[in-house]
């Protein structure tokens, strides 16, 4: 069964990719991922804050240097120690040395400023592609939706100017006109779109009166939102698509392929059940396609998106009512 797919200009033997996770910090896990069949690896993000944090840590050390005659500095080997970003670049190099599959690095921030210049360093470190993670919660009442989109498009332009690597933009679902925005990014030379970001959701610590952050693993329920937008966008914008969040079973994989994904990023499923899920899902995907008499994955790709599905309206407004109607009223559920 031919499962090959092209994502961001890379030819992958199949669409199952290890998404951004802490596993990439562990070279052993990275090697196992390759052995067990991951088609590519997405690094977790190098955060804008990480870059500025590194600067602060160094400043904290430097603040006490060259002040007092008996102690001109404190940390040994300070020239040799590399904090955040450097370590990130080193890890790209190490992973490239360790495995043959493509590496997608990731930059995560919200401002179109100097930190984006790391794109060049990531390129030099050997990454095969780059994900630009425009992770933000738009909280400023002075800022319009257009301006939010423009900032992301500008960031993309800055990154594209730094590197010739293919660049995918990882989106949040919370944009006013996602289709319009997607087209704007495509015309700013985005090579792909990743749907979607999952925000850390704030929670409260009632004893300390503090805000606590938490992130829970995805479930197949998270997939539905992505299916809709894959179906919509893949019919309208000619770029690569990847899905991130909510793929747990072979059915999920088939669904995202049919709605438009070229690559499928797996994280929660792997963290919960282990890297061997790559082998299993790949086998299951083959068997599913065979059982359903597909001769290749390509045949299924985008078959159920807005352009090709039998009833495109389902992806649009009317489906809203239908779904609501499918729920019995609360009192009937109580019974």
């Amino acid at each position: 069964m031919d499962l090959t797919t092209r994502y961001l200009g890379l030819t992958l033997p199949h669409p199952l990719v290890l998404g951004a996770s802490p596993l990439v910090d562990d070279l052993g896990a990275v090697r196992r991922a390759e052995d067990l069949g991951a088609a590519a690896i997405v690094m977790h993000s190098l955060f804008e804050e990480q870059i500025s944090h590194e600067r602060h840590a160094r400043a904290e050390l430097a603040r006490h240097e060259e002040s007092f005659a008996e102690a001109l500095y404190f940390a040994p080997h300070r020239a040799e120690f590399h904090l955040g970003p450097h370590e990130y670049l080193e890890q790209i190099r190490r992973i490239k040395d360790a495995v043959a599959i493509p590496i997608v690095a990731s930059l995560n921030g919200t401002t179109n400023t100097g930190w984006l210049e790391y794109a060049k360093l990531i390129d030099q470190a050997g990454a095969d592609a780059l994900e630009l993670n425009a992770y933000r919660v738009a909280t400023d009442p002075e800022e319009s939706g257009d301006s939010v989109e423009k900032t992301t498009a500008d960031m993309l332009a800055t990154v594209k100017a730094q590197t010739r690597l293919p660049v995918a933009v990882k989106l949040s679902p919370y944009h006013t006109s996602l289709a319009h925005f997607a087209r704007r990014l495509a015309s700013a030379h985005a090579d792909g779109l990743v749907l979607f970001n999952r925000f850390y959701q704030p929670d409260l610590d009632l004893e300390a009166l503090e805000v606590a952050h938490r992130l829970e693993l995805s479930t197949s329920a998270d997939l539905l939102l992505r299916l809709r937008w894959l179906a919509v966008l893949s019919a309208q914008v000619d770029v690569s698509f990847a899905v991130s969040g909510g793929v747990h079973s072979v059915e999920d994989v088939v669904k995202v392929i049919m709605t438009g994904a070229d690559a499928v990023q797996l994280v929660s499923e792997i963290l919960q059940h282990g890297l061997h899920r790559f082998t299993e899902l790949r086998g299951e995907l083959e068997r599913w396609l065979e059982a359903h008499e597909y001769h290749s994955l390509a045949q299924a790709r985008r078959s159920m998106n807005l352009a090709n599905c039998p009833d495109p309206k389902v992806y649009e407004r009317t489906s809203y009512l239908r779904i609501l109607n499918s729920w019995p009223p609360p009192e009937s559920r109580a019974r």
Binding site: I51, A57, E60, A62, S67, E70, P76, H77, G114, W115
Partner: protein, 1174 residues
């Protein structure tokens, strides 16, 4: 490079075993070697030397001795007290003719005071050991002599002590012709190395060494080594000749320079010899018949070689010694020269005089050397003199009035005043590199640092020239003077440093048109008198606009290049840009761009300020540095030291025995912060945690009668006391705006959150400028409010923090984790407290002049504080206890004896007094006052004796204080001995888990997984459990505390320790800048340490044993946080992860196991029931 680096590089390559121990100013040599060893750098023979830190210099010398006996090439580095601790082994090594070189950055020995600075008193204490003494006078020479000494020791078998001037040479930055491996190889004879191997103590060819010899043989056997010493000067000559052949650099045991027919000659050793040469050449060129001799090989002293070097015409010689031997006929070099001339028959025609100079890094300038030549030319020169000070008591000093600039214009000289935190020194080091590497200048950089650890001032002295610079002294008059912090301009003699017609650059926050108006009348006068060109820039604004925050170093550096034109403008800009790219490349491209931005903006923003030709009326005078209400001594002496004019103080200004007044830090107002905590009295819950946490006693609380508020200044906040213990009284919290360092610790520990807006707490940092006057008036008023009556206070966190702190405004780092404990100590016991303080951070911020933080209360009582040494502190405090106890016993006996005279009931009350409570102490003090009154009426000798001792009838609280370097390492033997006694001594260990004062070297307290100097890859052994060790005695009270985790337990432990009748040990977790995080979060880290079990809190009280209870009480249940969480926020642990993640994980796992085992052990102990003693 500096001499420490140059010497270490040679020593590292030529040795196999290196025993190290930190001591200023030699620490850097050991640190370098440790880093090289950790990164696998090899020596000349392709192996990586073993670099081992020992528990003391005595230990390092012992290890070196052992390594030498076992046939290795071994070395060590040290200075001052460290060298003294090596003395016994120096005799041994020399007595056994073991080839070896040790390198010493010469430093003063502590006498009436400690000094980290240079003189030769340490090496002079070794001149009798049998080591050869080789003195270097410059950085390059130090490198060369390191190699020459190694070659000479191998060939002569005489061990060498190679020394150079601490700081002046050890820390001077300059260009050096670096010795390549091949140079070293050419100098070290492999046959001699083979001999060392063959001489090794080995079971394969056994021998016995270190025998005991009896009267029949010891003497002859001792004389058996004579021939090696006779041969040694000749060997050195050979080696020097070989070295000259190879490198072209010629040295001699004695070097003469000056007029070939000199009549007057100065003899000196170390860097002073360079100054003597330069001055002699200068004067000889003007026709004066003068010359100078540099002594390089001081031991064995080649008298004949010296005599041969002196021109036949010499009539008078002045020998300069950089040491003092009270009571001797003269200082050692003087005596040797006299003896050498006598033995060579030249003394008949030559008169020799001797002088002392340069003790504790006092400067020796050409003018001083010229003054010595004047003295030699006088009809009757003084036979003994001192140089560089004004001795108005014994009148020994030569008065130097004129300045002497040897070669004006030959070098460009620049002086920079900056703050440690603003990066001035770093930028200057960078400038030196650029001008040296890219513009081919000869360069010299010397940096003068502060005695304070927070808000430290740095003064950089930079010279650039087209010819070798020499000049081992500070710049007197500079072509360029920069003041990087406007405040310093009026505080320190900044403008005075400028040469006439020179350039003055100010970093000011003011608009150009306002700059001149902001200068004091005196500063304006000085600028005008010197006809200076004045430039200004708002460096902070430029840095801010370029996104660099408060880092002005790049900005000011660009201004320096622009104004001095030492390089063509475009070329310098390009060089600066490259430098920026190099130094910031790892910080990311945007940082590079921001700095390049700043470079360009700086040039644009630099403006020349027009200096008005005429004096204008109305200029404000310079404000006084100390308030007019300060005591006479502070006005007369301290004020001058604060103004950077301490050099001008004459001998008569000083106490003769090192006894100084305490409580002077309150007169030094340093204004270190731009933001201060502001108190919301409505929100405050009056927990006083902020007061406890403040490292500088800059936030204080009082309870008082509300009537006192009648005269409160506007804006002074107070509120009703919330507790039941002071009904109807008021409470106020006040911040000292001139003493606060802005560390934010108080804000971070404040638990009082606004329920409606939890972001707000009862303390909030706010910009100081608009609040300053109100805050200052409020604080002054607060200080005048009455102190609480001690006996009314409950000794918990809240109560203890109402007590007056008698440790205040020290020079400790902002956010220091040690000082809150000391402050607490003075609050609890200050009026009866004796402190024996080990050398280290606590002795530096506790006793480093100009001002000291230990204070006294309104009755004149307060902590009595003394520092002896690093290694002996437990014994030192023990001795104090013995004395105090003896006085008390004697007083008690006298009270009994004089019971009839003073009244039987008073006598009985005095002897049986309860003194465990504040009320009991107050009552006893009253009784002592009554007793004194009664005794004054009597004239018997016994009454007079008792009058002297009566105060000892009031209990004294004796605390032995020091850091972990002392308690775990160098002082451990003594500490152990003292704990084993039954005396009532209390030990407070301020545990920062490294040698903080010398820059963060590993101690046995350093936890596994932490990077420290001497543990560059992260320490891989468990922290020593000092508490467990002390518990093993059974009678010692032991507590482990962390005020940021559980302050109530800390206070309780202090009170219990003091009450325990035997020895007590309190081990206190002290966050330190060496841990690598913002110390505002020090309390949070302490909490994590405790909650993760890394720092268990416990109290072990022998009294509980008596009651049949388990003696150990665990005061915190670990498990709420993980070890990983604790390690995550401190750079000392994170540096391991950044370098080697696998090692980090492995050390983390080992730490987790350590923690688990430790807790299990403590838990077992806390359930242990021992049978009570009957």
């Amino acid at each position: 490079m500096d001499a420490n680096e140059a010497v270490a590089s040679v020593a590292y390559r030529l040795n196999e075993v290196i025993g190290i121990y930190p001591i200023t100013p030699a620490s850097a040599m050991g640190e370098q070697c440790d880093e090289w060893s950790a990164s696998g750098r090899t020596n000349l023979w392709g192996s990586v030397p073993s670099v081992v830190e020992m528990q003391s210099e005595g230990g390092a010398a012992g290890a070196v001795h052992g390594a030498l006996q076992a046939g290795a090439l071994a070395t060590t580095f040290t200075a001052s007290q460290g060298l003294l601790l090596m003395l016994p082994n120096l005799y041994k090594i020399a007595g056994e003719l073991l080839p070896c070189v040790i390198h010493v950055a010469a430093r003063s020995l502590a006498t009436h005071a400690l000094s980290i600075f240079c003189d030769h008193s340490d090496v002079m204490a070794c001149r009798q050991t049998g080591f050869a003494l080789l003195a270097s006078s410059s950085v390059e020479e130090a490198q060369d002599f390191a190699c020459i000494a190694q070659a000479a020791t191998l060939e002569s078998r005489v061990p060498f002590l190679h020394f150079f001037d601490g700081f002046r040479t050890s820390h001077e930055l300059t260009r050096v012709h670096v010795l390549a491996d091949d140079d070293l190889r050419a100098m070290v004879d492999p046959r001699r190395v083979a001999e060392v191997r063959r001489a090794a103590l080995s079971p394969d060819h056994p021998s016995v060494r270190g025998t005991a010899q009896n009267p029949d043989t010891f003497f002859q056997a001792r004389e058996a080594s004579n021939r090696f010493y006779r041969a040694c000067p000749g060997v050195v000559l050979d080696v020097l000749a070989r070295f000259a052949e190879r490198t072209g650099r010629r040295y001699e045991p004695f070097t003469y320079e000056g007029h070939p027919e000199a009549e007057l000659v100065v003899v000196a050793m170390g860097s002073a010899a360079v100054t003597a040469f330069e001055t002699a050449r200068h004067l000889a060129a003007r026709g004066l018949k003068v010359g100078a001799v540099k002594v390089s090989l001081f031991r064995p002293f080649g008298g004949e070689q010296l005599a041969r070097k002196l021109p036949a015409s010499v009539r008078r010689i002045a020998v300069l010694d950089r040491t003092k031997e009270p009571g001797a006929v003269g200082e050692p070099l003087y005596l040797d020269v006299v003896a050498a001339l006598a033995e060579t028959g030249r003394l008949r025609a030559t008169e020799v005089i001797g002088g002392r100079y340069g003790l504790g890094s006092k400067e020796l300038t050409p003018a001083m050397v010229a003054r010595v030549f004047d003295e030699l030319a006088a009809p009757a020169p003084r036979r003994h003199f001192s140089l560089g000070i004004t001795d108005d008591v014994t009148l020994e000093s030569l008065d130097v009035v004129e300045e002497l600039d040897l070669a004006p214009g030959r070098a460009h000289e620049a002086v920079f005043y900056g703050l440690g935190a603003d990066g001035t020194v770093g930028a200057n080091k960078n400038t030196i590199k650029i001008l040296g590497d890219e513009a081919g200048y000869e360069v010299q950089g010397f940096f003068v640092y502060d005695s304070k650890k927070s808000g430290a001032v740095t003064v950089s002295h930079l010279r650039f020239a087209r010819e070798p610079i020499g000049r081992p002294y500070l710049i007197g008059r500079a072509d360029f003077v920069a003041c990087h912090e406007f405040e310093l301009l009026e505080r320190l003699p900044v403008v005075e440093h400028a040469r006439e017609g020179g350039t003055l650059l100010l970093n000011t926050p003011f608009e150009p048109r306002l700059v001149w108006q902001r200068l004091s009348a005196e500063t304006r006068r000085e600028i005008r008198a010197r006809r200076l060109r004045l430039f200004a820039i708002d460096g902070y604004a430029v840095a801010r606009d370029a996104g660099l925050g408060r880092h002005i170093n790049t900005v000011m550096q660009a201004c320096f290049f622009a104004l001095t034109e030492l390089m063509p403008v475009e070329q310098s800009l390009a060089a600066l840009r490259r430098a920026v790219e190099q130094s910031y490349a790892k910080k990311g491209p945007d940082v590079v761009r921001q700095n390049v931005d700043a470079l360009e903006r700086a040039r644009a923003m630099l403006v020349e300020i027009v200096v008005p030709a005429e004096d204008e009326p109305g200029a404000a005078p310079r404000p006084p540095l100390v308030p007019r209400r300060a005591p006479e001594f502070v006005q007369r002496v301290t004020a001058l030291m604060l103004a950077g004019r301490g050099d001008a103080l004459p001998v008569s200004a000083f106490p003769v025995d090192g006894v100084w007044p305490s409580g002077t830090s309150r007169f030094e107002k340093r204004r270190l912060t731009h933001t201060i905590p502001v108190w919301d009295n409505a929100l405050c819950i009056q927990c006083n945690k902020c007061v406890l946490a403040c490292p500088h006693a800059a936030i204080r609380a009082k309870v008082f009668e509300p009537v006192a508020l009648a005269t409160a200044p506007a804006g002074f906040a107070a509120t009703a006391w919330k507790g039941h213990d002071f009904p109807g009284e008021s409470y106020a919290l006040a911040v000292a705006p001139e003493d606060c360092t802005g560390c934010r610790l108080c804000v971070e520990v404040c638990p009082a959150k606004d329920k409606a807006r939890p972001r707000r707490r009862a303390l909030e940092m706010q910009p100081l400028a608009p609040l300053f006057e109100t805050a200052k008036q409020g604080y002054d008023f607060f200080l005048e409010l009455p102190e609480v009556e001690r006996k009314r206070v409950h000794l918990d966190v809240k109560g203890s923090q109402l007590l007056e702190p008698l440790f205040e405004y020290s020079g400790a780092c902002a956010g220091c984790g040690e000082t809150p404990y000391l402050k607490l100590l003075t609050q609890l016991f200050g009026d009866r407290l004796l402190v024996a303080n080990a050398t280290g951070c606590s002795s530096i911020y506790g006793g480093n002049l100009p001002t000291t933080p230990y204070a006294s209360n309104a009755d004149g009582r307060g902590p009595a504080w003394a520092n002896s040494l690093f290694e002996d502190n437990a014994e030192f405090g023990f001795g104090m206890r013995l004395a105090v106890d003896a006085h008390r016993r004697a007083a008690s006996e006298l009270v009994r004896e004089l019971s009839a005279e003073v009244g039987a009931s008073l006598a009985e009350a005095l002897l049986g007094a309860e003194q465990a409570t504040e009320a009991g102490l107050v009552a006893q003090r009253q009784r002592v006052a009554e007793l004194k009154l009664a005794l004054r009426a009597s004239s018997t000798p016994a009454a007079a004796r008792l009058l002297e001792l009566a105060d000892y009838l009031v209990e004294k609280s004796l605390w032995i204080v020091g850091g972990d370097g002392w308690a775990y390492d160098i002082g451990f033997g003594g500490l152990d001995h003292v704990l084993a006694s039954n005396l009532d001594v209390n030990v407070l260990v301020l545990d920062t888990e490294v040698y903080s004062n010398t820059g963060g070297q590993k101690s046995k307290s350093t936890p596994r997984g932490a990077v420290a100097k001497f543990a560059a890859l992260g320490k891989d052994s468990e922290k020593k459990d000092l508490g467990l060790h002390a518990m093993s005695y059974g009678h010692v009270y032991v507590a482990r505390v962390a005020f940021g985790a559980k302050d109530a337990q800390t206070v309780r432990a202090f009170v219990e320790a003091a009450a325990h009748p035997g020895p007590s040990l309190v081990i206190a977790y002290a966050p330190c800048i060496a841990h690598g995080y913002d110390l505002a979060f020090g309390a949070r880290q302490q909490k994590l340490a405790v909650e993760s079990g890394v720092w268990p809190l416990f109290r072990f009280d022998p009294a509980r044993l008596e009651r049949g209870e388990p003696p150990l009480e665990l005061d915190a249940t670990p498990g709420k946080a993980s070890v990983r969480d604790y390690l995550a926020d401190e750079l000392r642990f994170q540096l391991v992860e950044r370098r080697d993640r696998a090692r980090y994980e492995q050390l983390l796992a080992a730490t987790e196991r350590d923690v688990r085992h430790r807790i299990e052990l403590y838990q077992a102990l806390s359930h242990l029931k021992l049978s009570a003693s009957k």
